[in-house]
Subunit: 176 residues, 2 copies
DNA sequence: TCCTCACGGTTCGGTGAATGAACTTATGGC
DNA sequence: GCCATAAGTTCATTCACCGAACCGTGAGGA
């Protein structure tokens, strides 16, 4: 029962995309993968997703060519985005901008900057400084301006509390 | 039980957005609303969604200010996108381009053109001709180049089998 | 007036998925 | 060997989705 339920309008690209990425949790996993998360426990601790569901979703994403499963030197499996998976960045960015506009306060937004020139990423996905559309790997995610009171303590939240370049692995050193 | 289940990372704009549009069917309803669908039966016939689920999702979208429910002259309720709802167009467009790239054949793609100048909409959401980023209401959706064999017979599919400007109501004349 | 139909729901039983907790296996360090 | 961790798997409960049947209202026709 690996395949998710299908939408009937199979000729519509939105429906086709949502058959995979519309499943609960999958787009958040892709988002974390864009942030550089690659290990099972990091996805789990950061998202708070049940283990069985995470297993199912990772398999789904690997089967559909969005994530690639590779066995790291440590012997543990790691998951990284394929080119097809990185192609979801515009969709994720659209949701980031929409969510920021309607649900996040002004000083709660986390800016993205273009690694090449330092410009801020505008809502249309272009660098305000140089005008190009950076790939996700060319972007740095910054912490929000106002430090929020309650901080999560999982490794991913720790790694994202300082400027972090997308698609680069998060630090594996345990906190504290 | 109107509210959908919440994702834990409430400080993330993607998670906040997905709490609403990440629910099954909701983004397809928004897509249809962008196409100009406004009536319960049209959503139902075009999407093949169960009535109870459609009722639930329409209420959810109205409560969250994405759709507005208005009683038409006929006495029937109609649903139209708010400005906040139209703000989801970039996300829908991102999924259209991603879905087209990976799941739709070259001649199966339906082009969007800019009403003002007639230019085709590029993957980055800009008009290839004039370079602007048209709002959804300034776009026309065209049928695919190759006529597909099996056509659906519901009013929405009929209306979209010819060029149709987004956000304009679909024809209410019954087919046949 | 009565009948019928279409539309927009609501209700209900059956089914499958999500959830959290407990259990299993494999790996590495001491 | 012993312990800790990582990555699953299994399981009972809960919950959402599904399809079908059932309501309530308004329009149109005989």
């Amino acid at each position: 029962m690996a395949l998710p339920r299908e939408y009937t309008s199979e000729d519509c690209p939105v429906a086709r995309a949502l058959e995979i990425v519309g499943e609960r949790w999958t787009l958040l996993i892709v988002r974390d993968a864009l942030y550089g998360v690659s290990r099972f426990s990091d996805f789990r601790d950061h998202l708070g997703i049940p283990r069985a569901v995470l297993t199912d979703r990772l398999n789904l994403l690997v089967e559909n060519g969005i994530l690639a499963r590779v066995t790291a030197a440590s012997g543990r499996d790691e998951y990284s985005l394929t080119a097809k998976g990185e192609g979801l960045w515009p969709a994720v960015w659209s949701l980031i901008t929409w969510g920021n506009e309607h649900y996040v306060s002004e000083d709660g937004c986390r800016p993205f900057t273009h690694v090449g020139c330092g410009g801020t990423l505008a809502a249309d996905g272009r660098c305000e400084s140089c005008g190009t559309r950076p790939q996700p790997g060319e972007l740095t995610l910054h912490p929000r301006a106002k430090t929020s009171p309650a901080r999560k303590t999982d490794p991913v939240s720790q790694a994202l509390s300082v400027p972090h370049r997308l698609l680069t692995p998060i630090a594996r050193t345990p906190a504290q």
